[in-house]
């Protein structure tokens, strides 16, 4: 009597036993993800502690970054990171959304697929290759323009005035747009190459979201006699804006942490920004350019502290993105 009832229990116990082993194994491997995060915070925090302890908040607000004197304030490179990232974002977003609209709304299928694929490939190009191209191709073009500007006699008064201002460590709105060197490298080139690099992130997210906009939405608008642009601007883009914003923030995260392409072209100067064309630096570019030479403890620790701030920044951006997407997603869409 008890035998048939007994047998399934052993089987169940057996399978649940092996299931437990498997689950523990999977859990152990998945915990490596948690471990990587915890280790990252711990290791960066420990290495960065001497610098953060010595300088406190001045590490983020101080303007001098001088390894010789042992004074480290990251304000200028934080400004560099914010300026380059936001400028690149402002330029790239309209372009990216437009290309997404082209792929999703305008292009016939035989064209949409290859163009969409090309845009995805743009995201696959390594940072160093972008840097190499910017250095060898765009920098000489900018350099020629800058040389022509310097040689033009009409610009002499402006240049003299700006040079004076710059020498005093100041700048004006006009001088900010006057070239300060003829090498082509500098902040502007970094913005250009960053723009190109983050375009595909916004573009591919925007394309996916635009494709998700229900056909009803479009058809209802067309039925009212709207033109294609009116359908796009009043029916599609409002519907897709949360997703597009998510893509924009993803791109912002990329731009903040983008390292080598920027490090190769920005000129690595820790002085306060005086001209759009002048040398500057970003948090990531300083890590790449200085960590290898940072022998002294405080210098090394300061560079790791920069890495820790970058880490914290990317976590914040990630959370902001989720929050914004959750807030802005139209009701009924998840």
């Amino acid at each position: 009597m008890s035998e048939p009832a007994h047998r399934p229990t052993t089987r169940a116990a057996l399978s649940s036993g092996s299931d437990r082993v498997f689950q523990v194994l999977i859990l152990a491997l998945a915990s490596v993800i948690v471990l990587v995060f915890v280790l990252s915070v711990y290791q960066l925090g420990r290495e960065a502690w001497p610098a953060l302890h010595t300088f406190g908040w001045h590490f983020f607000t101080g303007r001098t970054w001088n390894p010789v004197e042992g004074k480290f304030g990251a304000a200028s490179m934080i400004a560099g990171t914010l300026v380059t990232s936001l400028a690149a974002l402002v330029i790239s977003v309209p372009l990216a959304v437009a290309s997404a609209l082209f792929v999703a709304e305008y292009a016939p299928k035989w064209l949409a697929n290859p163009v969409g694929y090309l845009i995805e490939l743009l995201a696959a190009v390594p940072s160093v290759v972008y840097g190499l191209w910017a250095l060898f191709v765009i920098a000489p073009v900018l350099g020629r323009w800058q040389t022509a500007y310097f040689l033009d006699p009409a610009n002499v008064p402006t240049l003299t005035r700006c040079n004076q201002l710059w020498a005093e460590g100041q700048t004006s709105l006009q001088c900010f747009f006057v070239p300060s060197g003829a090498g082509g490298r500098g902040l502007a080139l970094a913005v250009i190459i960053l723009t190109v690099m983050i375009l595909p992130y916004t573009a591919s997210v925007a394309r996916d979201v635009i494709r998700l906009v229900p056909a009803d939405q479009r058809e209802a608008m067309y039925a009212l006699g709207a033109t294609k642009w009116e359908v796009i601007s009043r029916a599609i883009l409002p519907y897709a804006r949360a997703g597009i914003l998510g893509g924009v923030i993803l791109a912002l995260g990329r731009a903040l942490g983008e390292t080598l392409a920027v490090a190769m072209v920005i000129g690595d100067s820790q002085e306060i920004l005086k001209s759009l064309w002048g040398n500057a630096s970003t948090v990531a570019s300083v890590i790449a350019n200085q960590f290898g030479d940072a022998q002294e403890t405080l210098h090394r620790s300061s560079v790791v502290a920069l890495g820790l701030s970058l880490f914290a920044l990317s976590v914040i951006v990630n959370f902001a993105a989720r929050l914004i997407i959750a807030r802005l997603t139209p009701k009924g869409l998840q």
Binding site: V21, L25, I26, V32, F102, L121, P126, L132, K228, S314
Partner: protein, 289 residues
């Protein structure tokens, strides 16, 4: 009757006003122009590298190490070997942890740790590569010195979130009925996952791994302070190792023409391999659907 009359009389007014028509055309043209601007850099970069780098992609490039500074000739065998070896080591970490993480997120959705793992995986995906280099530096290099292993560790960490994401998505595409069919036969859950669900999702997982490889193969930033670089061929993972992106970085910022030439050829090779990998990955995922 009245309504029909109203519609007929409204018809002329419904014709597009010139302002709307012009605006519509103008925006269409702008969108086309913007798309051209977006795609242009890719084509320009590829054409530039083909023109400058193809000539240097000869037998020497694949069989020799860089010539001493300032001398002509040489190749990037050290970088090719280093890249391959570090990518292989990184894949072990990335695939093992990534696939397991994906299985955990997709198959154990009610586990209390699930939200934490999902969130941290997303967070890791956003961490800049150079920061991962610093982490690997303080984990390994500080104790054991520069090594290929440290570089591979940084690359593996970068692969994890990409593989987790694709694995989870693909596993969720496998219909629930498939799992139920297996469970109803009395199979334990782990047999169902390993022998039924995973094979059904294999194509998608391979795609994810290839995309992750294509992404980290071009990373030089996390290798700067970990693998460090090596001018001779080194297969010992406990010693400094070179990698293609590293050599491209050093060459492009070097003052010597010869190094720049090698950098361009290396960039052409790297970019071609990455494009081919993404193309294959895309193919594989399309066949699956």
């Amino acid at each position: 009757m009245m309504r029909a009359a109203a519609v007929t009389s409204a018809r002329p007014a419904a014709r597009l006003s010139p302002v709307r028509r012009v605006k519509n055309l103008l925006m269409g043209a702008l969108i086309l122009l913007a798309t051209l601007l977006v795609v242009a850099p890719l084509i320009l970069i590829f054409v530039y590298l083909l023109r400058e780098g193809l000539g240097a992609l000869n037998l020497d490039f694949f069989t020799r190490t860089p010539a001493p500074e300032g001398e002509a000739g040489g190749g990037l065998l050290n970088a090719i070997a280093g890249s391959l070896e570090m990518l292989a080591m990184a894949s072990v970490i990335g695939v093992l942890v990534g696939v397991a993480g994906g299985i955990f997120l997709a198959e154990y959705p009610r586990h209390p740790l699930m939200p934490t793992v999902r969130m941290l995986s997303d967070v890791l995906a956003g961490i800049p590569a150079i920061v991962m280099g610093l982490v690997a530096y303080s984990l390994i290099v500080l104790r054991f010195g520069f090594s290929g292993l440290a570089g591979a560790l940084a690359l593996g960490f970068l692969m994890i979130p990409i593989v987790v994401r694709t694995t989870e998505e693909v596993l969720k595409l496998v219909p629930l009925s498939v799992r139920e069919a297996g469970l109803s036969l009395g199979l334990p859950q782990w047999v169902v996952i390993l022998n039924i669900v995973l094979p059904a999702a294999a194509g998608g997982i391979v795609t994810g791994v290839m995309l992750a490889l294509a992404r980290v193969a071009g990373e030089a930033a996390p290798l700067l302070f970990t693998a460090f670089g090596n001018s001779s061929v080194n297969l010992d993972p406990t010693r400094p190792m070179s990698a293609l992106p590293l050599e491209i970085y050093r060459g492009a910022t070097s003052a010597y023409d010869e190094n720049q030439r090698l950098a361009k050829a290396g960039a052409l090779l790297l970019i071609t391999l990455i494009f081919l990998t993404s193309l294959l990955a895309r193919r594989a995922s399309r066949v699956k659907r």
